[in-house]
């Protein structure tokens, strides 16, 4: 099999840097380059220190480089809307960590298989990554009519992008609960908590189900938690599903791996971990295809 698939990161902010540290350990992806638009960016300096090529010319530095097959975009919704067509034209697969939603929403343990060939994949939101798997698992065995999630994150882990576009979080997450989670109707709430030391991300998932079989629900949730733990080790069920009539309440906690960002910011960790999981599946597929061609 060929060595590894080359990739680049656009956006050397918190998310981009955490992803960089995660990709260092990848079996299938070789991070080639990190690009930004500010020459004196701390992130770019950190990328250079770690031996990666960098550029402050943004996406221009990546376009035309045929070796780079996968590009992670950790900028913002507006820049990604510009980047998406350029990357597509250049034959690169885009993994979008912004709320732009150019491509289909993907939550790895639920629907990655369906979209593995898509040229652009959107990672939804942190709340979506944490809660959609649970809703999908419950839906599978109990048929979810309504799903409502409450994500509580530490104020410190919410950057200016999240803050200025908080409606995007609630609307995108709610939609993902419906489209991928399978709920007939979804609702999302986000709360920022400024407590010091910062709190770990917490998520509460409420569902209204048609078939409240407690044992089946508990088993399905337990299995799904284990699946998410494969790529987010700090993901855990805090209170196992409480079934109360047709209402099911599940509580989760997401502790980050502490690769670059502190452990409390599990909300950022689950985004970068999911993006890495998607990137690796795609890279693996590309490697297998190349291997076949050689034969």
């Amino acid at each position: 099999m060929a060595k590894k698939i080359k990739a680049a990161i656009i956006g050397p902010g918190n998310i981009g840097m955490d992803l960089m540290f995660k990709l260092m350990k990848s079996e299938y992806i070789e991070l080639e380059m990190v690009v930004g638009i500010i020459p004196e960016s701390e992130g770019l300096a950190l990328a250079r220190e770690n031996g990666y090529k960098t550029s402050h010319e943004g996406i221009k530095a990546i376009l035309g480089n045929k070796e780079i097959k996968i590009v992670f975009d950790a900028t913002g919704a507006k820049p990604h809307l510009m980047h998406a067509p350029l990357l597509k034209e250049d034959g690169k697969i885009a993994i979008d960590l912004t709320p732009a939603a150019v491509g289909p929403y993907v939550v790895p343990p639920v629907n990655l298989g369906e979209h593995i060939d898509s040229p652009n994949i959107n990672m939804v939101t942190c709340g979506g990554q944490a809660t959609v798997p649970i809703v999908a698992a419950i839906n599978e065995v109990a048929d979810v009519e309504y799903a409502e999630i409450v994500a509580t994150i530490s104020s410190r882990s919410a950057g200016p992008g999240t803050r200025q576009n908080i409606d995007e979080f609630t609307q995108t997450t709610a939609r993902a609960l419906e489209v991928i989670g399978g709920a007939e109707k979804g609702k999302a709430i986000i709360i920022l908590n400024p407590a010091e030391p910062p709190i770990i991300m917490r998520d509460t998932v409420y569902t209204k189900v048609k078939n409240p079989d407690e044992k089946a629900i508990r088993d399905a949730v337990e299995k799904m938690v284990a699946k998410v733990q494969e790529y987010v080790p700090g993901y855990r069920s805090k209170v196992p599903p409480i079934v109360d009539g047709d209402k099911v309440t599940t509580m989760l906690e997401v502790e980050g791996a502490g690769d670059y960002l502190p452990k409390y910011s599990g909300n950022l960790d689950i985004m970068t971990a999911a993006a890495k999981a998607v990137g690796e599946r795609i890279a693996k597929k590309l490697l297998e295809e190349t291997a076949k061609e050689v034969v």
Partner: protein
């Protein structure tokens, strides 16, 4: 001339907490009509947690935001219709809906340290031609300078006014004065104050806030509201009158609304009991009260233990799910203890 104090009656919003958000649109219309007739300047309506609040997390309301807005806007003649919106719960879509039904005032509520999540909503309210108010909640959790810093943020977004809100009813008069003064010094827009009565200080705190320069204050008929409730509208009208302020409210008429229309619709007496007192003492968001009582019953633990633990964990407004978490943990701990015996 007497100094005018603008009263916002929030019986139909904060009071919704006390009736588990079960006022019907007709109940609201009947009360709102009475408040309007009595001369109340501004009437806030909606789910207790604001637009979009109807949920498992906070309780489902008896009707949708749209049904409430539609029904109440029809009966108002002079009073301004006001809504509350907590970014993260409600969105700009709901704000547009409120504007469609002629809401004139939008209060954008954030935790006291998170004003920046309300920037877009303040700006949209202004674009929609509404009076935009930045509503800082749980102000007891931070020192006055921090409150002032966040008030300035709201002012920079174009807010017409900023509110100092004691959501936990945890402040003493000294705390209130320090925060009102700090904010008055920091901003050039007017300042409002919202009290809760968990420590039996709602009226006293409202008065010291007015003395310190707040010219808009919140109240509810019969004191109906989260926790031990709010400053009581009809009493406030009487007290402000005795102190030489004008409110534009007819005392007898507002007394009649409170006793004849609101009181018969109450589900439980609005009093300070051991649980609401614990909220004020522990500094926990007032609307946790009924959720804590339900959690206590379900998991067979003391509601006060839940509330105090929520305070220790520095929960903020909106974190009602923490109550289940805490109640569950307390019940597990107790079970472990029993097992050890």
């Amino acid at each position: 001339m007497k100094k005018y104090i603008r009263i916002v009656d929030t019986t139909l919003r904060d009071g919704m907490h006390a009736v588990s958000h079960q006022f019907t649109p007709d109940d609201m219309a009947e009360i709102a009509e009475g408040l309007d007739r009595a001369g109340i300047d501004t009437i806030e309506i909606g789910h207790g947690d604001g637009l979009g609040g109807s949920s498992y997390q906070y309780g489902f309301a008896a009707a949708s935001d749209e049904e409430y807005l539609k029904t109440v806007s029809r009966v108002l003649k002079n009073a301004k219709l006001d809504i509350l919106l907590l970014p993260g719960i409600g969105t700009m879509k709901e704000l547009e809906l409120a504007a469609k039904y002629d809401a004139k005032v939008a209060r954008i509520a954030t935790h006291v340290t998170e004003a920046d999540i309300g920037e877009q909503h303040i700006k949209l309210a202004k674009e929609l031609g509404m009076e935009a108010i930045g509503f800082l909640m749980m102000v007891h959790m931070v020192p006055p300078e921090k409150v002032a810093e966040q008030a300035k943020l709201f002012e920079s977004y174009g807010a017409d006014r900023v509110y100092i809100t004691d959501s936990a009813g945890a402040m003493t008069p000294k705390d209130v004065v320090a925060r009102i003064k700090a904010v008055k010094e920091a901003v050039s827009i007017p300042v409002g104050y919202h009290a809760h009565n968990n420590l039996s200080l709602a009226m006293a705190n409202t008065l010291v806030a007015v003395e310190a320069g707040a010219d808009m204050v919140d109240a509810t008929c019969k004191g109906l509201g989260a926790g031990a409730g709010n400053t009581q509208t009809e009493v406030l009208v009487a007290v402000l009158d005795k102190l030489g302020y004008s409110t534009g409210v007819d005392l007898y008429k507002i007394m009649d609304v409170a006793d004849d229309i609101v009181a018969p619709k109450m589900k439980r007496p609005q009093v300070i009991d051991k649980n609401s007192l614990s909220i004020g003492y522990a500094g926990v968001y007032g609307s946790f009260l009924l959720h804590a009582l339900r959690g206590a019953e379900k998991f067979n633990v003391d509601a006060r233990d839940i509330l105090v633990e929520c305070g220790r964990r520095k929960t903020v407004g909106g974190q009602e799910d923490m109550i289940i978490d805490v109640a569950y943990e307390l019940s597990q701990k107790r079970r472990a203890k029993l097992a050890n015996c």
